[in-house]
């Protein structure tokens, strides 16, 4: 049995080595999409993939990349770091760039993609690790958890609150913005945290935690949780008839939460979330592409525009570099996203400008994309206050980050 197993393994590996020695300059340009299609991030998976597919459709409609078709190589990372490493290694040999990655996967792959010189986009990573560690082969085109934490504290300050409680799930994605919120609220704004309740996810009920958080009659409560914990917490809040203002973390800005809180007055639950640039010409082009390739109008709040933008940026960088090699593509990213250059809003316009020999400055449906050249982060992500209206989140007003609260 052992001998058979080892022989089979040897055949497969040797066959693999032989088969993998193909010509890299022919065939489609393959762009990896490594995201949580199952597990904790599965709610974001399908809409994210729709955004990615729309980008690939637009790229191919406009002549592809360097005359070659673009192809999306989809991999589920099971929403775990182990799944991200396995999934990445499954497609690493065939792809020219990687996108779709979330926080856990991005952090797990941080060293590996740099070693592999694999251009990697993070359209939905909030992790504070990337505040300082990206920029060479990994770029983040959404807001950091640090931004969310600061904005939430700023929002609470602007609403006139002084006594706030916190109810936070102990996972990286929820604790990161919560810790920033606490730090800014106490040390920069001078507000009071009257209760800081942390809990492990996975319980059926969070009655004790809700009781602790609301016991001191706070004016507002910051809730940082995933949807699975968020729904029972909100039900408990409604059942007990509390009236404190609720500020929620980005993970709670999903339809299930909005539906669970539909009976609350408008504005009772507030969220700070990156918002798309609906007025931009790029957005109307994106919406049309989404309708065509995903067969439905785009939703909001699922990073679908960020997913779209990442592949347009990568494709434009390849066009500018006239190469699909990782180092060449990486070297062009900032020249595509940052000023100076001809402002372009679509892939076709970007390619045309590059062919004319112009430098370009791409802005997409997700907003102005200007990256910090040291860290690879968005210089000023566009964040809006979101209210729940008729069982759905609605963006109300764009908030400018108060620079005095920055860390």
């Amino acid at each position: 049995m052992r001998r058979i197993f080892l022989s089979l393994l040897a055949i497969v590996v040797l066959g693999g080595v032989v088969l993998s020695c193909g010509d890299d300059d022919e065939g489609p340009v393959k762009l990896g999409f490594l995201a949580g299609l199952s597990g904790d991030y599965s709610e974001w998976g399908p809409p994210s993939q729709d955004g990615a597919e729309a980008a690939i459709g637009v790229i191919n409609e406009s002549g592809g990349i360097l005359g070659r078709d673009a192809e999306l190589v989809v991999q589920d990372n099971l929403s775990t770091p182990e799944g991200a490493v396995t999934g990445y290694n499954r497609i690493r040999e065939e792809i020219h760039a990687l996108g779709g990655v979330e926080s856990d996967g991005a952090v797990a792959l941080l060293g590996t993609v740099a070693e592999d010189e694999m251009p990697t986009m993070c359209p939905a990573c909030g992790t504070t690790v990337l505040d300082t560690e990206g920029g060479n082969y990994i770029w983040r085109i959404t807001a950091s958890d640090t931004t969310y934490g600061i904005i939430s504290a700023q929002l609470a300050r602007d609403l006139g609150f002084t006594r706030v409680a916190m109810l936070v799930q102990q996972t990286e994605g929820t604790e990161s913005p919560a810790n920033v919120f606490k730090d800014v609220w106490e040390n920069k704004i001078g507000g009071e945290i009257i209760a800081d309740v942390r809990f492990a996810p996975g319980s059926d009920s969070y009655q004790a935690e809700v009781e602790q958080a609301f016991a001191g009659n706070p004016e507002a409560v910051y809730i940082g949780a995933g949807p699975q914990a968020g729904i029972p917490i909100l039900r408990e809040y409604i059942a007990r008839g509390y009236d404190a203002q609720i500020l929620v973390s980005p993970d709670l800005q999903v339809p299930d939460i909005a539906e669970a809180a539909a009976e609350l007055p408008t504005g009772r639950i507030l969220a700070a979330q990156v918002t798309d640039d609906f007025e931009s010409p790029a957005y109307s082009a994106f919406a049309a592409a989404h309708q065509e390739y995903a067969n439905k109008p785009p939703p909001t709040g699922f990073y679908e525009t960020n997913q779209f933008d990442q592949y347009i940026i990568l494709a434009l960088a390849m066009t500018a570099a006239e190469s699909t090699d990782g180092p060449d593509v990486a070297a062009q990213i900032y020249s595509i996203t940052n000023a100076p250059g001809t402002k372009v809003y679509t892939y076709a316009d970007g390619v045309a400008a590059l062919e004319r020999g112009e430098q370009i400055d791409y802005d997409g449906p997700s907003g102005t994309i200007e990256l910090n050249t040291s860290t690879g982060n968005l210089v000023s992500p566009k964040v809006a206050v979101q209210h729940i209206v008729s069982g759905g989140y609605t963006a109300r007003e764009v908030i400018e980050l108060d620079a005095s609260l920055g860390r």
Binding site: G15, L19, S20, V73, V74, N89, E93, D104, V129, E172
Partner: protein
């Protein structure tokens, strides 16, 4: 993923190096799980807790000072990190084993499961030491200054399988020794084993600590592969995968854990690589656990003892032996080894 892409993944050396490394790590852990659960009858659902302790210990002590905002980062060399991980998991296994091993079967199982979760919560809450929910995204690896990228991964694959071979040699030795026979006797009939002089409590604790120390040696391999220590990594899923592989391969067989891990992880990968159109992707994802469950059901239906059985491992003679026979053989072996008593008389028993 198109069919071509699936073939491409299967033909990718990176894919195989990564997968075979992971199989090697899981195989080592599952062989050790087999020693305590398969032969010792201690149903351990907390194996991931020991792995987490080893992983965190290694990562913390090898972290260079100043890289993370933590209170302790001595920057020890890799070899010292491995020793520290083994020592720490051994100590924790001893401390957990003292109270936990008084319980049997499902009670022991629940205690070990709780222990793993308690450790995960400690890793979250001792942020000053463990970097909390963020964890460590940089893990020291050996030979980094000698090899680049793919060569380093290939070297770590060889190291991983070297470790797996060592674990296999250890378990093989145990299975053929009086110690192994005593373990199986204790599992099959504890009163009989006790009556024959086997110090059951000590044997259980010894085994638990031995497995703990060995898991501590495997944990750095997992960190070298994953390069990320975070509480989220050490969820019960790891334990369930090891147990599924053990049942699949054959509980208490010697080579079964390795075969079980290889079959399970390869099967999982093949299911993942099945070509489906985008609109069926969610269905495909949902079918994963179902497919693995089906594999398990099929194997257990046609090979109830797993792909390899304990009977096959220990030969025809063992098939005819009763538990008491095994216990007596264990005692005889023990007497012979200790040089006390009359070994011949013991054999005659």
């Amino acid at each position: 993923m198109s069919t071509l892409a699936a073939i491409s993944a299967l033909s990718s050396p990176t894919f195989w190096v990564s997968l075979l490394t992971l199989i090697g790590i899981y195989a080592s852990v599952t062989m050790l799980l087999n020693v305590e659960s398969g032969w010792g009858g201690m149903w351990d659902l907390g194996i991931v807790g020991l792995l987490a302790i080893g992983s965190y210990t290694y990562t913390i002590v090898t972290n260079p000072p100043g890289e993370f905002e933590v209170s302790y980062a001595p920057g020890w060399p890799v070899w010292a990190g491995i020793l520290a991980a083994m020592l720490m998991t051994g100590i924790v296994a001893f401390l957990v084993g003292l109270p936990a091993l008084r319980a049997r079967r499902e009670y022991f199982l629940i205690i070990t499961f709780a222990f793993a979760e308690v450790f995960r919560q400690l890793a979250i809450n001792l942020g000053d030491l463990t970097h909390g929910t963020v964890g460590f995204n940089s893990v020291a690896r050996p030979f980094e200054s000698f090899f680049q990228r793919d060569a380093l991964r290939a070297v770590l694959l060889v190291v991983t399988w070297g470790a797996a071979l060592l674990v296999y040699a250890l378990t093989r030795r145990i299975s053929r020794s009086g110690y192994g026979r005593a373990l199986r006797a204790m599992r099959d009939n504890e009163p009989a084993a006790l009556s024959l002089g086997i110090r059951v409590s000590r044997l259980r604790l010894q085994t638990f600590v031995l497995v703990g120390v060995a898991i501590g040696g495997i944990a750095p391999l997992y960190m070298w592969w994953l390069r990320y220590a975070n509480p989220n990594v050490f969820r019960a899923q790891f334990t369930f995968t090891a147990w599924t592989a053990l049942v699949l391969g054959g509980i208490a067989s010697r080579f079964g854990p390795v075969l079980g891990v290889a079959v399970l992880l390869l099967f999982t990968e093949l299911v993942e690589l099945i070509d489906v159109p985008p609109e069926l992707r969610n269905v495909h994802v949902a079918v994963h656990p179902l497919a693995i469950g089906l594999l398990l059901v099929l194997v257990l239906r046609f090979r109830p003892e797993g792909l390899l059985s304990e009977r096959r491992t220990f030969g025809e003679r063992a098939r005819r032996q009763t538990a008491l026979d095994v216990a007596m053989a264990a005692v005889a072996s023990r007497l012979r080894r200790l040089g006390r008593g009359d070994a011949v008389r013991a054999e005659a028993l």
